[in-house]
């Protein structure tokens, strides 16, 4: 099946697209993020294929040195657009950017699943489902949340955004090295070790804010 990537893309995004008409508010931003993430994934897969064909390097070297750059760069574009044009509120940006990362990971996982259908296992599903999804989500969130800080001043914005992108690229590449090596199942731990403290701090912060509001009231 030559158009399998596009078939998967349609199967995943069409129901989400239809749901947009009955969803409002923040949920709409999240669903939009998932759709945009999947769209970015399909676009990036074409770019990465072109790079692989054009370059003299093999698949492994391209996935470690080139794909983190293209993927993070293109994933960041809708986040930057959202922050500049729609809203730079931190919580909305966090949810929107994480959704973009997840949308990207959903399509990427589906494509990888179809490509290696004979060798996949339940363990593979867990490691991809946790590892790759969290990694993409965290990388995009790093840019999204960071932009909400550096957008405050013009002098901060350009170097700050590039620095955030470079951080996301390094993180992505570190994960790619791990999953391409003999320690591929350890790849799950890197995003988990990053994700758990962040979520813990985030929930704590929300609870503290709620407490403060209650005390004020």
């Amino acid at each position: 099946m030559e158009n399998i990537n596009y078939i998967l893309y349609i199967c995943i995004t069409l129901p989400l697209l239809l749901s947009l008409f009955v969803i409002n508010g923040r949920s709409r931003a999240v669903i939009s993020g998932l759709i945009i993430g999947s769209t970015v994934a399909i676009l990036v897969s074409e770019i990465n294929s072109a790079i692989l064909q054009a370059s003299e390097f093999d698949y492994l070297r391209v996935t470690i040195n080139a794909t983190p750059v293209t993927e993070e760069l293109i994933k960041a574009l809708p986040v930057l657009y959202f922050a500049m044009v729609i809203s730079d509120e931190r919580r909305t940006l966090l949810q929107f950017s994480f959704a973009i990362g997840l949308g990207f990971a959903i399509l990427e996982n589906s494509v990888v699943l179809v490509q290696s259908i004979d060798s996949v296992t339940i363990l593979w599903a867990f490691s991809r489902g946790i590892g790759a999804s969290l990694m993409h989500g965290l990388c995009t969130t790093c840019v999204g949340v960071g932009v909400s800080y550096v957008k405050k001043r013009r002098k901060l914005f350009t170097p700050g955004t590039i620095a955030l992108l470079l951080t996301a690229m390094t993180y992505h590449s570190t994960f790619n090295v791990l999953v391409q090596s003999g320690y591929k199942y350890y790849g799950v731990f890197l995003p988990l070790v990053t994700y758990i403290p962040i979520v813990y701090a985030y929930i704590n912060r929300i609870n503290n804010n709620k407490k403060k509001l209650k005390e004020k009231a």
């Binding site: 470690i64 170097p159 620095a163």
Partner: protein, 240 residues
């Protein structure tokens, strides 16, 4: 340079980075943006070290897996080893130094330098010292293996840009509030750390310079550790 030495040096610097990061998170959790941006810079540099470490650990297994899948170990890398000339490490360096630039340029520079003629000599001096370092580095290490990397040269432009602000904030006269003085310890430590990065890259992969490479690497790790302490000490006297 053997993989073992490379691994231990990376591990030491990584450990220093992690400790520095934990210290920073505890110290700057509820503070201004300036120390938080620097914390991100330290985090990015530490992430680069982690990348290097994982690359070194994974190298042998990657080679084996690749041999099985393609029938040949050739083509993995120009040198045959994955970690030699690993390009993404340089992106983390650029990212880390850019965070330092962001903090100094975006948060402090406009407060200490209003662009008047009075400060021209400080700007000029800092500007000369930044590019001179890069130029000297280029002259000394033109035969270095790392120059093969596509991401290598932009990193040192960012580093020059970063040293410009560190030097400027070290030599510029203090303003009302006295925070230039309070930030001098941080700027000096960060400058030393960046110069150590420069020197370790110069001496990398050369058996002749193993001792200076190790010394500068350890110094770099120590400087990374001192950064949050230097900011915390200075931070007590000012707020942005």
């Amino acid at each position: 340079m053997t993989d073992k030495i490379d691994f231990y040096i990376n591990a030491i610097v990584f450990l220093c980075g992690v400790i520095s990061l934990i210290l920073s998170i505890n110290m700057f959790k509820r503070k201004a943006l300036y120390p938080k941006i620097i914390m991100c810079g330290v985090g990015c540099l530490t992430l680069g070290r982690l990348y290097n470490l994982i690359l070194l650990i994974a190298d042998s297994t990657v080679k084996i897996e690749h041999t099985i899948s393609s029938g040949s170990a050739k083509g993995l890398h120009n040198t045959g080893l994955l970690h030699v000339g690993s390009q993404m490490y340089f992106l983390s360096l650029a990212g880390g130094f850019l965070f330092f630039v962001t903090a100094n340029r975006g948060q402090v520079d406009s407060l200490v330098d209003d662009g008047s003629k009075q400060f021209f000599k400080y700007r000029l001096l800092s500007f000369i010292l930044g590019p001179v370092i890069v130029l000297l580095f280029t002259l000394f290490s033109s035969d270095n293996v790392l120059f093969d990397s596509h991401y290598f040269n932009p990193v040192f432009l960012v580093l020059a840009f970063s040293t410009y602000y560190h030097i400027k904030h070290l030599i510029i006269p203090d303003v009302f509030g006295g925070f230039v003085k309070s930030l001098r310890a941080y700027n000096l430590t960060a400058l030393i750390m960046e110069l150590c990065y420069l020197m370790t890259t110069l001496f990398y992969n050369n058996e002749k310079y193993l001792v200076p490479f190790t010394v500068f690497s350890v110094l770099m790790g120590v400087a990374t550790l001192i950064i949050p302490l230097a900011i915390e000490r200075g931070y007590k006297s000012w707020k942005i």
